[in-house]
Each structure stands twice: as C-alpha cells, then as structure tokens.
C-alpha cells in the first residue's frame, strides 16, 4: 500500500502546485494579500509531499519491493545496499522523482530564508517555482510514473545499469548535477517573479538571484568535475572529457551561468546590461531543461539516456512555454530594463566583463551547435553524423586561452576607466611569471601552440590573481600594522565575493594547466604480457604478476595484478580489472591508477588469456592529472568563500 500512498502524495503535490502556481498569482494580482500565505503553504506542502514519495521510493528500493515498477526495473537482490540506494537516480522515472524533490527542497529553502522579506517578490518567486514543479509532477503522474504496480511480483530484478554501480563517484556526480541544474531554476524564478511583481527595475531580485546562482554554479561545477573524474576512473581510455553530447549538456548552462556571475557585477555597479542579464538567467534555465531533454529523452544514446518514449515531447513543449512566457514578460517590461549607465573606456573592468561575456556566449553557441548538429542532420537530412573532438577543440581553444588571459587582466583594472601606465606597472610581474612558465614549458618539450599559450596565460593570470591578495593585504598591513598573512585573510573575508572570485580564477587556471600538461605529454603503450613479463612507458616499468578471477554476488571480476617498478624497486601494485555484470554483454573496464602530484600511471586491462597465463595491458602516463581535480577543488573553494557572508559587525553589509 506504500505504493498508493506515494502516488497519492504526488497527486496532492500536483494539486498544491496548481493552487500555489496557477490560482494564487491571479489572486495576488488583484491585491489579495492573504494569498501570500497560500503560496508559502503550497511550497511547504509540496516539499513535504514530494519528500514522502521520495522516501517511500528509497525504502522500497532498499527493501527490494519489486511490486513497484521502478524497483523492478533497477533493483536486484545481489546489488550492494549502497548502490541500490543510489539507483534512485539510476533510471528515468527515479531521476525525475529525485529532480522534483530537489526542486521542492530549493523552493522551500527560498521561501523559508526570505520569509521575513516584505513585498511580492518572494511570493511570485514561489509561484514560478511551483509552476516548474507542476511540470515535473505532470511527468511523475504521467509518462514518468515510477509507482506503477507490477503483477505478478517478480522474485528478483536485473539491477542498475552496470556503469552506474561500478564506482563510488556515481553517488556524488548525479546529486551534485541535480543540485546545480535544478538550482538554476531559482534565479530564473526570481527573475520571472520580479517581472510578475513589477519589480524588475529594483536591485532586490538581482542580489537574491546572484547569491542563488553562485550556489547552483558551485554544485554544477563540482558535478562536472566529478563527472570528468568518473569518466577517467571508469571508462578505461585515460581521458576525462570527450565533448560527448551529455557532457556538453552539463557544460552549456555552466557557460551562461558563468557569464551571468560576471555581468551581474556590471549591473550592480553601473546599472547596465539589465536586459542582457535577464536573458542570461532565462537562457541558463532553458538550457538546463534542454540538457535534461537531451540526456533523458533517449535521443542520444549514452549511459545517461534511459528509455525512449513520449517524454521528450513534454520537455520540448516545456522549453517552448518557458521561452515564450519569458519573451512576453521581458517585452512587456522593456521600458523598465533601460540601462542607467554607459561604458566610459575600453580599458576598464566593465569592458573586460563585456568581452568575457561575449567570449562565453560564443563558446556556448559553439558547443550548442556542435551538440545539436547531429540531431538536426539526422532529422532533416536523414544522415547519421557525429561532430567529434576536432571541431570542438578547433573552435573553442582560441576562446579558452583568451579567457585565461582576461582572468589576469580583469582584476587588475578599475571600474569605469583604467590608467594604462598603472595597468602596465601592475601587470609587469605577472607578465614575467607568464613568460617564465611558457619558456619552461617549451624547454620541457611543449610545441602545440595552444598548450604554450595556456602555460603563458596561466602563469600570468595566476600571478595576477595571487597579486590581488598580496596587494590587498599589504594595504591593510600598512594601515593597521597586522602581519601580512592575517591582513590578507581579513581583507579577503571583508570582501568575500571579490576574493572568492579570484580564488575561483586561480582554480580554473590550475585546472587548465592540468589539462594542457596531461593532454600534451600523454604517453601510452599497449602490450601482451605473459606472467612475469614487463612493459615500460616513460621510465616506469609495469610487470604482470598474476591474472585472476573472483566471484562477487552481483558480478564476476577478472583482474590482473601488476607491479609498478621504478629503478628496480616496486613502488606500487595496481589491479586493473574487468567487471562482468549479468545485464551487460560487455565487461565494464575498471582501470587502476597510481596518482602522484607529478602525474598518473594508468593501467587498463584490455584483454586476458582465459587460462590466466597472460594479459593485454594498456599503460598510460599522464603528467599533472591530479591538478585537474585540485584545480576543481580550488574553484569550488572560491565559490564557497564567495557565498558565505562576511561576519557582520553591527549588521553592516559589506559590498564587494
């Protein structure tokens, strides 16, 4: 009966979102302010009801209640409890349920945090969030219903998709991605809420929207990096990014959100780009829905594409509704979105933000075009094509290196109008660092122009951003006589937004260096080894010791034990494996990696002799790979630093 309870909860959640999202705005528009409480109540009720449904599903999964269709689809008694729990988002219906829950959580948090705020902005924001929730509830009681009855009840199920139960990062990447993706609904809701409340000209909504965007951006960034890491650890090719459509789907809204985080400062400071910022927010939200459509409709075949069916049309219809509604609302408010300020000089922070936005938008359109082209080509011309790495690399590398360069220039420039001589003085030392990095890279054998440029600009911009910390700290040290490290910390905490941003820049630059180094200096080799034989790559020897098989409840594992030797000493023992799952005709590769700060030794078991006398091992050496993950960590740290409010002294608000 828990099945009916959960289904009822979803129906009531649907009713709550109709009351709060469809009925309430009409009442609010007529000045019936009692309906503010109705919207609040609907948001909380929606959260409680969706939580009931989600918890019910989790319990059903863990108790192997195969009378519920979703459990019968993804569950299996042999799967470890941990992977059973995370299979909540392992297939279409469960992932939509989880999505609805995250959205309900965000809506409740927004309404709760702002419960004392006066005016109609927050109620209308709640209305918009409930309208989005309504769409997902329609999916949940309709085409993506996870609570169908199964009769007769099967004794066991097939278990989750093998790729999703093969690595612990699958517990990290999907929830973060949902938190990031769904989180982008909040700034969208604030924007549309402000339009509905007639408050689009005020700065109130943009501040709220910015803060929630940083939070969602943080989650999305962490999710993308966790996804790269997963791909590196599981897929066995030693890479982390392939411009795969589903990777792009997560990256495209990230680009517009990043553009917004920069251009919003121009609006706050200078009163410009209001319309543009609104477009970025609406665009980011629409792109998250588009991304969900691409990954969930089955239109692209990948580990993310679950079932096909009619659900794709719902998403397309929803995107159309969102875009048309936003267009109508924006057009109706165009007078209020007029710009107050104007650009004074091309040599100013304002101008750098403008170029940054231009580049990020170009980047976004390039990736979007490359991603959608195969779909359009197949639909229109009936040919199957793929747009591969060469296109994306060729088109986006110039944009990327320019962005790396601007990351160093922007912070060194003042608002409005910069002084060329001051800029030159300020960037002299960073330029020295950049040239040193480029010369070192060339001396070490870097020849690819974009790699050299990456090292050049990364050295330059890291020094420039670190320089901002030192610069700020020195000023305070002179004024207050504090030791430098304390002065830096206090200045940074005083304006966390600004310094959080610089920290994120440093993270991106470290990340870029990791990518440039690992892709430029990657060396690999593949060999058939008999037991005791060895292969060598980049001065490191891998010696095959054993080929073995092991039975586990949910799978069979075949592995190789390989000793990693350097100068005759064994420094590590790795066990690349192949996991055979009953639901997959193909073994799931499970490479094994030895990481040091200087680089990774990556082993993959390509093939083995059935008698255990030998195996084919692929060995890859990639320098600086761990710095990709470290850089990602620094980016997230910067976002956390920037979003935590400074300790207020006597309630003063510190504006960066």
């Amino acid at each position: 009966m828990t099945r009916l309870l959960a289904l009822d909860a979803l129906w009531f959640a649907l009713i709550a979102s109709v009351v709060g999202g469809v009925v309430a705005p009409f009442a609010l528009a007529r000045g019936r302010l009692r309906w503010v409480a109705v919207v609040q109540g609907a948001v909380y009720a929606n959260f409680a009801l969706v939580t009931v449904a989600t918890v019910t599903m989790m319990v059903a999964l863990l108790r192997h209640d195969f009378s519920i269709s979703y459990v019968a689809q993804v569950g299996s008694r042999a799967t470890p409890a941990f992977y059973t729990a995370i299979s909540l988002w392992g297939a279409l219906e469960g992932s939509i349920l989880f999505w609805a829950w995250v959205l309900a959580l965000y809506a409740a948090a927004v309404v709760y945090i702002n419960r004392r705020r006066e005016g109609l902005l927050v109620p209308y924001t709640g209305v918009v969030l409930l309208l989005i929730a309504l769409f997902f509830h329609v999916l949940l009681v309709g085409p993506a219903n996870p609570f169908h009855a199964v009769s007769p009840v099967p004794a066991d199920g097939p278990g989750p998709n093998p790729l999703l139960q093969n690595h612990i990062l699958m517990a990290v990447h999907p929830p973060l991605l949902y938190l990031g993706y769904v989180g982008m609904s909040v700034p969208f809701a604030f924007a549309v809420g402000a339009l509905l409340a007639g408050q689009i000209a005020s700065d109130e909504w943009i501040r709220a929207a910015r803060r929630w965007t940083v939070t969602a951006w943080l989650m999305l960034t962490a999710a993308i990096i966790a996804g790269m890491w997963w791909s590196y650890e599981v897929l066995g090719w030693g890479g982390y990014w392939a411009w795969d459509p589903v990777e792009n789907a997560s990256f495209i809204p990230w680009l517009t959100a990043t553009a917004f985080l920069h251009s919003v400062m121009v609006q706050e400071r200078r009163g410009m780009l209001k319309l543009w910022n609104l477009n970025l927010i609406v665009g980011t939200f629409a792109l998250t829905i588009l991304g969900t459509f691409l990954t969930r409709s089955g239109i692209i075949s990948s580990v993310h594409a679950f079932a096909s069916g009619t659900i794709g049309y719902y998403f397309l219809a929803f995107i159309a509704v969102v875009l048309v509604a936003a267009l109508v609302l924006v057009a109706g408010n165009s007078e209020r979105l007029r710009t107050d300020g104007r650009f004074d000089s091309p040599l100013s922070r304002d101008a750098v933000f403008l170029v940054n936005n231009l580049l990020l938008t170009v980047f976004m359109f390039t990736v979007l075009t490359g991603t959608l082209f195969p779909l359009v080509a197949e639909a229109v011309r009936g040919v199957k094509v793929s747009v591969g790495e060469p296109f994306f690399n060729r088109m986006t590398l110039p944009v990327m290196v320019l962005l790396l360069f601007l990351m160093g220039v922007g912070p060194a420039l003042p608002w409005r109008r910069g002084d060329p001589a001051a800029l030159r003085r300020r960037l002299m030392i960073p330029a020295g660092f950049g040239i040193a990095a480029a010369v070192a890279a060339i001396a070490l054998g870097t020849r690819a122009p974009y790699a050299v440029l990456t090292f050049l600009f990364a050295g330059f911009s890291v020094a420039a951003n670190v320089g901002e910390f030192v610069h700020g700290g020195r000023g305070r040290r002179t004024a207050r006589g504090e030791p430098l490290h304390l002065a830096i910390w206090r200045v940074a905490r005083g304006t966390p937004r600004r310094f959080g941003g610089y920290l994120a820049h440093i993270g991106v630059l470290v990340f870029a260096v990791g990518i440039a180094a690992s892709s430029t200096f990657r060396t690999e080799s593949e060999a058939n080894l008999k037991l005791g034989e060895s292969m060598e790559v980049d001065g490191i020897t891998a010696r095959l010791r054993e080929v073995w098989g092991r039975e586990e409840p949910q799978r069979q594992v075949i592995g190789a034990t390989v000793a990693i030797e350097r100068g005759g000493d064994t420094v590590a023992v790795l066990s690349p494996r192949m996991n055979f799952y009953p639901t997959s005709q193909q073994p799931i590769p499970t490479p094994d990696v030895r990481s040091t700060l200087l680089g990774d030794t990556y082993l993959n078991l390509v093939a083995f002799r059935p008698d255990g006398s030998g195996a084919t091992i692929k060995m890859i050496r990639e320098p600086l790979v761990p710095w990709i993950w470290i850089g990602g960590g620094i980016i997230c740290l910067g976002a956390v630093f920037g979003v935590i409010p400074p300790r207020s002294r006597g309630g003063e608000e510190v504006q960066a």
């Binding site: 097939p158 073995w548 069979q556 075949i558 639901t583 997959s584 390509v606 255990g612």
Partner: protein, 157 residues
C-alpha cells in the same frame, strides 16, 4: 553631465548592434566552416561503397558485423585484419593495430573509426564493440563463469 558626455550615448546602440550583428555573422560562418570540415559520417559498408571514390580518405565511422571467419590477428606484429559486413552482404576489409577488445569475435557488431584507403582497405584508428544496454539472456559460452572456468578456480586476492 556635459554635452560631450551625452553625445556618444545616442550613437552607442547603433555601434553596438552593428558590432553584434558582425560578430554573430562571423561566428555563424566560423562554426559552419568548422562543422563542414569536422563532421564524421556514420555509415554501413554498402553506404560507404556507394560513395565510390568520394569516400576515399575522408574520416568515417563504419558500423557493421565482423564477417565470420575473416578475423586474422597477428600477435607479433600486433596487426588485426577482418571484414565488416552488413545486411546487404557488402564487405569492407579493415586493418587496425593493437589488441582487439575482449568481446571481439565473429558476428559481433562493431564500429570502426578511420579512413578508406585507395587500396579499398579501411584503416581504422579505433575499434569499438557495439552493444545494446538492453538485457538479454547470455548465450552459451558468453557467461564469464563458463568461458573462463580455469580463472575462477584459482580465485584471486
């Protein structure tokens, strides 16, 4: 505000919009050009053969089945040769280097990426096993327990 400052204010939108139009046009042209050179067609053997000499030396993903009995794996030279066929019985000879994946066998669906040479042999740079994620019962000999009996006897660490 002096007149000097407000004068460029009226000019700016024209400048900005024409600049934006230029950028968009340039971008569209660049992306289109980039796409044109970098798309890879996914073809079956009969489709590739139908292209005749046009097909020579352009990057293609070729999908089909491994023709039974055609596989020739030279371990010392690490050279793999096999034929890809399709439902129309068109056949293309494929060469690649490196160990074929564990599941590579006669009749298996595969996708190879590479170029058709002038000698009508397809030089593949990558070889992927094509599979469906749908569940089906394993056929005899496919179950790793049966196929690799000896390994499971000496269970590893």
């Amino acid at each position: 505000m002096t007149e000097q400052v407000s004068a460029p204010r009226r000019k700016l939108p024209v400048l900005v919009s024409s600049g934006a139009a230029l950028v968009v046009a340039l971008l569209g042209w660049l992306i289109y050009g980039g796409l044109d050179k970098n798309i890879v067609y996914f073809l079956e053997p009969h489709e590739l053969l139908a292209r005749g000499t046009d097909a020579v030396d352009s990057p293609v993903r070729l999908g089909g089945l491994v023709r039974p009995g055609s596989v020739d794996w030279n371990e010392s030279a690490r050279a793999l040769r096999f034929d890809i066929t399709d439902t129309t019985q068109s056949v293309i000879r494929v060469v690649s280097t490196g160990q074929p994946p564990q599941m590579f066998r006669d009749g298996q669906g595969v996708v190879v990426e590479g170029r058709l040479g002038r000698d009508s042999v397809f030089a593949a740079s990558t070889l992927i096993i094509k599979h469906t994620n749908e569940y089906r019962a394993p056929k005899a000999g496919e179950h790793p327990r049966e196929a690799y009996k000896t390994l499971f006897k000496g269970a590893g660490p």
